[in-house]
Structure formats: structure tokens, C-alpha cells
């Protein structure tokens, strides 16, 4: 496994002015996305050329990624470059606001970059065209191969400035890459940038792997592997490629997730036909039983403060969602609606729980408050499940499978995302079929 390069970014705040007029409201479905012009970054003529990297095109490539990120939010409408009226280098110094307003832009991104001594220096500015003001200006220095991350970090900074919320572009998604016929699927762990770029496969597909989940505080992953035909929860360090079995359980462990501080793994352990919830401290290796019930208890997920756990149980007869204190006390059922519920997962903001609901042969992804009130179903389909939150708690990624004909004809599994407003449903492009997505935290936090 390739080592993931540890990135060093230097940030310089060039200047910043407050009190801009434009602001994007992301709390409701945005029917009127903000028109934004992303001027290609100007490439300084003195830049060195590098092997395997076309420096001349770097400016336009970075701005294309920023545009793609903005478009994917559904909150911004990146305007066509052909309509731009000012050269990138001149616009970056001082835009002619009235010219940009003429093409109906309300915000403008400008920037420049240079490569010297194998260092990439990028500077960008965000302009409020309505108020004719600069909103932010930042510069970064990093290695040139990190240029995609630069584009994502710039996107995050602008998103944060315009929405008042943390961004989610400098993130990755780990998932299960699928291939082969439905009854003999080959499954591999795969990781990619949030926008689908830079896919890497972390396992070879020799054994079945399922449900990878990111550690919220570092680049560790926990997942289920059928290595040697013993389904067990594993821990994988994606920087070193080192992996190990979690605990020494005499039976199947599954449905793993990290605690919010990343120090524990919570999971189900199945023995003699009964699944209960356990935790293991990754430092002390201490194993703790959290539930003890003759029903199935699975899919546990911590609240972001670590004080509560939501989980899935059929103790009432059919699958429902329950919440308890993190020591297993005070178990309360929170779902009472028609249908069955599964895969509860607590929002990183703490306010909502996302879930899968099955009713009358249809599968729904929804959100509700952590006491079970305010249920909102976001999307209905033949089969979809396993939502995972964006680090800012605004977007869910999940997987969807199609109905198949004889011999599994027409079967496919794909990743999708949707805003918690219920708007902006999008398919995420992956090299292969894909399932079980898990969204990382911001990498540059």
C-alpha cells in the first residue's frame, strides 16, 4: 500500500474584510443558487516546468475543480468562462466590478500561482461583486503534487465564507468497490477524494470486505473482513497499510464504528445466534459489553459528545432505532412510525440521526431528531441504505442498488449523495460499482 504523503500547508492570511452583503443560506433547499465566477488562476511566467505536471494548465485545472465542487453543492451556479471579461492576472489585482456584474455574477474568485524550487505557491481572493469588496484573500505553499488539495481547500474557504458553515471538499470517502456477478461479488476496500478523483484500492479482493468506517480524528479505518473465512472487525492504518484484528472474540464481530475521540471501536459481537454491542479501547485493549439482550442489537453509532449511542434492535419484534447512554443504561426506543428502521448514524453536529427506513417494499433515507421526532424522508428507492454524514452535517452519502432480472441482469450498486434539505440528489462517479461509503473528516483541520 502506498504511503499517503503527509501534507504541510502554510497558510497566510493576506487580508480580510468583514461585512459582505452576499450570504448563502444552506438551511433550506436552495432554489436560487448564487451565480459565481471562478476566474482561472493566473500562472506566473517565471514558473518552473515539472515532469508529469503541466504547470501552464494548472491554473485552469484548479479553477475547474473549484467550479465542480461549487456546482455539486447545489448552492452555487458557476458561470461559463467564455463570458468572462477580464484577464485572470488583472482581475486578481483589482476586478472591474461593474463588468463582472454585467454577466450577472455576484461573487468572483481570482488567483495566481507559481512554482519555484519545487514548491507550489497559490494565492486566491474572493470578491463580493454586489458590495464591490474583497471578502477573503489567502495564500498557500505546498508541494506541486498537492494541487488538487489546494483546489479543495480554496473551495472550503470560500464555502465557509459564504455560508458560515464549515466546508467538506478537502475530504475523502472510503467505500467498497464491487465487481463480478451478483452471487459472487468481488469486494475491495477503496478510497477516493470526495469528488471521485484519485481512487486507490486498499485490498486485493481475495476476501469479502464490508462496511469500512473512518476514524473521525485520524486516517485510521475500521471494517469487516472475511479473512480466512472468519468474519471479524479489523483496524487499518491507511498511511502505513498495517492492519490487525480488533479484539479476540470467539465469533463474528461486525458493524464497527469509532467513538468520536477515535479511541474506541464500538461493534456487534454475535454468539450463539445473538448479537450484542461491545466496545474495545484501542489503547488498553479493554473490552466492554454495552447491551445484553436476547434480540439482535447492531449498527451502533455514538453521539458526537460520546455520551449516547444510537443502535438498531429488533427487541420489540421488528427492527427499530434505540438510544441509550454510552454505558448501556437508559435504553429508549425512538422510532414508532410505520415500517422498519435500520442503520442509525448520529450527525457530527449532534442534532440529527440519519437512518434507513423500509416500508411497503420501498427503501428510504431519512433524518430525525435524536429523540425520534421530526422524521423527514429524503429519498425513496427500490433499495438504498447506509447513510454517512459529511463532516459539516449537511450532506449524506449512501449507496443504492438497482432491481435485477434473471441471473442478476441489470444489477448495479452506486454511491449517491443528498442534502439534508432533501434537495440536490447526485450520483457520485466511481470507477467500479460501489457501496458502504464513509466520509472522512476535513483533512486540513
Amino acid at each position: 500500500m502506498k504511503k499517503i504523503i503527509i501534507l504541510l500547508f502554510t497558510f497566510f492570511v493576506v487580508s480580510s474584510h468583514a461585512n459582505a452583503l452576499i450570504k448563502v443560506d444552506i438551511t433550506r433547499g436552495n432554489l436560487d443558487p448564487l451565480p459565481i465566477a471562478v476566474s482561472p488562476l493566473h500562472v506566473e511566467k517565471t514558473s518552473e516546468n515539472l515532469e508529469n505536471l503541466d504547470i501552464k494548465k494548472l491554473g485552469i485545472n484548479i479553477s475547474s475543480i473549484i467550479e465542480k465542487n461549487f456546482k455539486s453543492t447545489g448552492l452555487f451556479n458557476p458561470l461559463k468562462r467564455e463570458a468572462f471579461v477580464q484577464k485572470p492576472d488583472i482581475a486578481h489585482l483589482k476586478p472591474r466590478f461593474e463588468d463582472w456584474r454585467l454577466i450577472k455574477a455576484q461573487a468572483l474568485v481570482t488567483g495566481k500561482l507559481s512554482v519555484k524550487n519545487n514548491k507550489l505557491k497559490v494565492e486566491f481572493r474572493l470578491w463580493d461583486l454586489t458590495a464591490s469588496k474583497e471578502m477573503i484573500a489567502l495564500s498557500f505553499t505546498t508541494t506541486p503534487t498537492n494541487w488538487r488539495r489546494v483546489a479543495h481547500i480554496i473551495s472550503d474557504k470560500i464555502y465557509e465564507r459564504l455560508t458560515g458553515e464549515e466546508g467538506y471538499f478537502d475530504t475523502r470517502i472510503i467505500y467498497v468497490a464491487e465487481s463480478g456477478p451478483k452471487n459472487q461479488r468481488v469486494k475491495k476496500l477503496a478510497i477516493m477524494d470526495q469528488d471521485g478523483a484519485k481512487t486507490k484500492y486498499l485490498t486485493l479482493g481475495n476476501e469479502l470486505v464490508l462496511t469500512p468506517r473512518f476514524n473521525p480524528s485520524n486516517q485510521m479505518v475500521t471494517y469487516l473482513s472475511y479473512f480466512r473465512n472468519l468474519p471479524r472487525v479489523y483496524l487499518l492504518d491507511i498511511e502505513t497499510g498495517k492492519q490487525e484484528v480488533v479484539g479476540n472474540f470467539p465469533g463474528m464481530t461486525f458493524a464497527p464504528r469509532f467513538s468520536p475521540d477515535g479511541k474506541k471501536i464500538i461493534m456487534s459481537f454475535a454468539k450463539d445466534g445473538n448479537s450484542d454491542i461491545f466496545t474495545m479501547d484501542l489503547e488498553t485493549r479493554k473490552v466492554e459489553r454495552i447491551t445484553e439482550h436476547s434480540s439482535i442489537d447492531t449498527s451502533p453509532s455514538y453521539s458526537p459528545d460520546g455520551k449516547y449511542i444510537c443502535f438498531n434492535s429488533d427487541r420489540s419484534g421488528l427492527q427499530q432505532i434505540y438510544v441509550m447512554k454510552s454505558d448501556g443504561s437508559n435504553v429508549k426506543r425512538i422510532t414508532f412510525g410505520n415500517g422498519i428502521y435500520g442503520t442509525p448514524v448520529w450527525s457530527p453536529r449532534g442534532d440529527l440521526i440519519a437512518f434507513t427506513k423500509v416500508r411497503k417494499g420501498k427503501f428510504y433515507i431519512g433524518v430525525m431528531r435524536s429523540d425520534g421526532t421530526g422524521e423527514r424522508l429524503l429519498t425513496e428507492n427500490f433499495y438504498q441504505e447506509a447513510p454517512s454524514w459529511s463532516p459539516n452535517g449537511r450532506v449524506l452519502v449512501f449507496y443504492r442498488e438497482t432491481k435485477s432480472g434473471a441471473q442478476g441482469k441489470g444489477f448495479s450498486a452506486k454511491l449517491w449523495s443528498i442534502d439534508i434539505t432533501g434537495y440536490n440528489e447526485r450520483k457520485i462517479k466511481t470507477e467500479t460499482d460501489a457501496s458502504d461509503p464513509s466520509w472522512s473528516s476535513l483533512l486540513s483541520k
Binding site: 451478483k182 452471487n183 448479537s275 434507513t356 447506509a386
Partner: protein, 157 residues
Amino acid sequence: MKFNKNLRNIFLILFATLALSACSTAKKSQTSGDVYTGSDTVEYLASGVKDRVFFATNKSSLTSASRETLRKQATYLRKNKKLNVTVEGHADERGTREFNLALGERRANAVKDYLMTYGISGKRISVISYGKERPVNSESTPLAWSQNRRSVTVKVK
């Protein structure tokens, strides 16, 4: 107009009869409740000893037909004392992946427990759940789903 109406009624009755008969034959030969009762996907451990039993949606209880199959498996295992088996538990694709893993484990253990009541040592039976990962019929139909809700007893080589 009247003729048209009569004709329509005749067609309706004809259609209803056809639909009803199609429905009832399908049910009779393939499933009871929603437990698969056919033999299309069934394999044999030995002559007359079926390798699998089927379950209702979300359930792990054994039907009388299942118990009969398992009694035959137990007899076969008693005769072949050196033989060990793995019981695989499976679920259909109409549930979440994680719950199905638990459900498959519960089904496999229901089979293991029943075999043990007929004197087969638990040491000879290992269980593994595949959840919805290994369907025997890949089609998305109620019939396929009923064939996939199963436990399969496999000889350990």
C-alpha cells in the same frame, strides 16, 4: 354500446380467472407463507439428505419441513462420525447489510441448535453468516428472495 360493455365484462372475467389461477399455482408449488417450499436450488449432502432449509422474512424459526430436513441431516451426521459441517446463514437483499449479518447468524444457529438436540456435538458444527452477500438466486423477485433466506449445511473438507 351495450355489446361493447358485455364484451368488456367478458374480458374482465376472463382476465381475472387467468390471473387468479396463475397466482394460486405459483403459490402452491413454490412458497408457503413466504417460506420457500420448492426444490430448485436445493442440493444434497447424501441421497435424500437436503443441504438447506428456508426461512420467512426476518424470521429464524424452523418450519416442520425444515425440521424434517434437519433430522435427516442429523441421522447422516450420526452415521458419519468423522464428518464436520459448517452451517451458513443467509438473508435476502431486502434488509440492511448489518442487520442481515446478524439475521444470518441467528438462522445458522437455529439450525445448529436443532442438530444438537439430535445428539450432534456442537464441536462438529461451525456457523458463519453471509448476510445478503451470497444470494443463490440473483433475481429481484419474491421467489428469489425466498430461495435466498436459507441456511446451508456444508461438509468441511
